[in-house]
């Protein structure tokens, strides 16, 4: 069991999300940045989708009431019993140990994984917290959480080298999208504006959606409203004021504003980790490219898992003036 001594910001239990209930209006929820979250789980030997803690900007202070292997994913200072330790690394905590997590230096969501995962009552098939509908609640100081039993899977000393960590420090991000499905609600000019302008993430952004500011996207004579139709995390809605809203993990399941595009699954975590004020440029890709990008990302995640399991070695290679990462089996 762990006990939360202080919780400075939004802290929730999340897992791979809640599928199968969208037809009842229940959002998917789950990790805002599934890339970092999965690596956090791999660091402690869990399956990628195991329930863990997601914090917004600043991490909690935690007391361990049992011995367990844990890891923190994020660009953040971490202390165990007051002594600085590394993020992206698994450690063994003993009963009575205290873990302190600082404020993220880049990115906006951080993850704390525990071997065996957080034990939780699954609601509609998932532990992901969606407070609006009473599906769990954000955590507060004094809360105690049970952990799964994983004496054999937890291993300390797994370490993800900086070169393999996601980098969320850039000042402007390029986010790839597939256009559609409601393109007839936009003028050609409007679509051009959307693809050629730099938008800024506004502070009115949360797990439900990221609101953007920038040049207004022009609607066609059909206007911004559509007959309410399904949407997905990543869908970009453009209401009457022409400012795009990107739907995130807690997005409603249907919406009544025309959708100009959808962010590809591989880039949604990158957007999720971009802070208010960050510049965003959208670039159109084809469905084939989107699938290739996602497959590549899935392969990278799988290689990282095998690397952390000690089955692969990672090499940094310079070729054609660029740096590449290579994974290879152990000799």
């Amino acid at each position: 069991m762990i006990e939360l001594l202080s919780v400075p910001s939004l802290l929730t239990v999340q897992d791979g999300g809640r599928e199968g209930y969208r037809k009842l209006g229940v959002p998917v929820s789950g990790f805002m940045d599934d890339f970092s979250a999965k690596i956090a789980n791999y660091l402690v030997g869990n399956p990628g989708d195991a329930p863990l803690l997601e914090f917004l900007l600043a991490g909690p202070k935690i007391m361990f009431n049992a011995s367990v292997v844990f890891a923190v994913a994020g660009d953040v200072d971490v202390r165990l019993n007051g002594i600085p330790i590394e993020p992206w690394t698994s450690y063994w905590a003993k009963r009575g140990d205290i873990l302190e997590i600082g404020t993220l230096k880049s990115g906006i969501y951080g993850y704390i994984a525990f071997a065996g995962g957080i034990k939780c009552e699954k609601l509609l098939g998932s532990c992901s917290v969606y407070p609006r509908a009473g599906l769990g609640r954000p955590l507060k100081a004094g809360d105690k959480l049970d952990l799964g039993y994983a004496i054999l899977t937890g291993r300390e000393g797994r370490f993800l080298p900086p070169k393999l960590r996601p980098d969320y420090s850039s000042g402007e991000v390029e986010i790839r999208v597939l256009l559609g499905p409601d393109l007839e609600h936009f003028t050609e000019n409007g679509i051009g504006t959307f693809l050629e302008s730099t938008y800024t993430i506004t502070p009115e952004s949360d797990r439900m959606g990221y609101r953007l500011d920038g040049p207004a996207v022009e609607h066609s004579e059909k206007g911004p409203d559509i007959v309410t139709s399904p949407l997905v995390p990543g869908s970009v809605q453009v209401p009457g004021n022409g400012k795009p809203i990107v739907m995130m993990r807690d997005a409603q399941t249907t919406g009544g504003y025309a959708k100009i595009a959808a962010v590809i699954a591989a880039d949604l975590p990158v957007l999720a980790q971009s802070r208010p004020g960050t510049g965003v440029r959208f670039r159109e890709v084809t469905p084939e490219e989107a699938r290739e990008i996602l497959k590549r990302r899935d392969k990278t995640l799988e290689a990282i898992r095998e690397f952390l399991d000690g089955k692969l070695r990672a090499y940094s290679v310079r070729a054609l003036g660029k740096e590449f990462l290579l994974f290879a089996g152990k000799a």
């Binding site: 037809k23 009473g134 949407l231 959808a262 469905p287």
Partner: protein, 228 residues
């Protein structure tokens, strides 16, 4: 009918931009046909008024393959709705329906007329969306249609029954909202500990039944509705 991509993990099947019962019946028939196929790449099916999304695992299947797989299912006959009949008790007006007088005045009717017209029709649940358990119903009678609030309320209590244009619906959870509130039901519309968690489901037939304040208080135990 059109098949379009809705991001890299979903296919949108659209039967035009309409809100009528017949097209919605086709949407649900197609949704059922796809679910029954139990494709190994199928993640979720999300029906709306006149469109539905087929959510797939893009690592297992391509967009073109999904298109090919669902195309033969698009011709299924809608047949008759197989929805249940559900009665929703509603306490109309007063503090529970603070906008009922506006709806009456706006349409040149009495409050009693609004109640009679709203509860005099059987509505079809076209789909659930916006919030868990929020039902989009077939349109209300033109005579009681009313525009949305200019400034949405920050907090609409759970169970509130509202009108927006020709739409009517019930807020399953406390949330912000801009619909004109005409009453409130004591029934609980969403309960995550139940399976299924929503009282209403797509295809159900809903009838609003006016109740007194005494009945409202008596029922107000977060009760789950019963099938009739």
């Amino acid at each position: 009918m059109e098949l379009k991509s809705l991001g890299d993990s979903a296919l949108l099947i659209s039967f035009g931009e309409v809100t009528d019962d017949e097209v919605n019946a086709i949407v649900h028939a197609v949704a059922r046909a796809i679910e029954e196929k139990d494709f190994e790449w199928l993640v979720d099916v999300v029906p709306a008024y006149s469109s539905l999304a087929v959510i797939f695992d893009p690592l297992k299947v391509t967009f073109e393959e999904v298109k090919k797989a669902v195309e033969p299912l698009l011709g299924v006959s809608a047949g008759a709705f197989k929805g249940r009949k559900i009665e929703i008790p509603v306490l109309y007006g007063g503090e529970y329906g603070p906008d009922i007088e506006f709806v009456a005045e706006y349409n040149g009717l009495s409050v009693e007329d609004v109640i009679e017209i709203h509860s005099g029709k059987t509505y079809r649940v076209h789909f659930l969306g916006f919030l868990p358990g929020f039902a989009y119903l077939s349109p209300v009678d033109e005579r009681i249609a009313a525009p949305r609030l200019e400034k949405p309320r920050l907090k609409v209590p759970a169970g509130s029954v509202g009108i927006a244009g020709r739409q009517t619906g019930i807020y399953p959870l406390e949330s912000p909202g801009g619909w004109r509130l005409i009453g409130r039901t004591p029934l609980r519309l969403f309960d995550p500990s139940r399976e299924p968690p929503t009282l209403l489901q797509p295809g159900d037939e809903v009838k609003f039944v006016p109740i007194s304040e005494e009945e409202f208080v008596e029922l107000h135990q977060g009760e789950w509705g019963t099938e009739v």
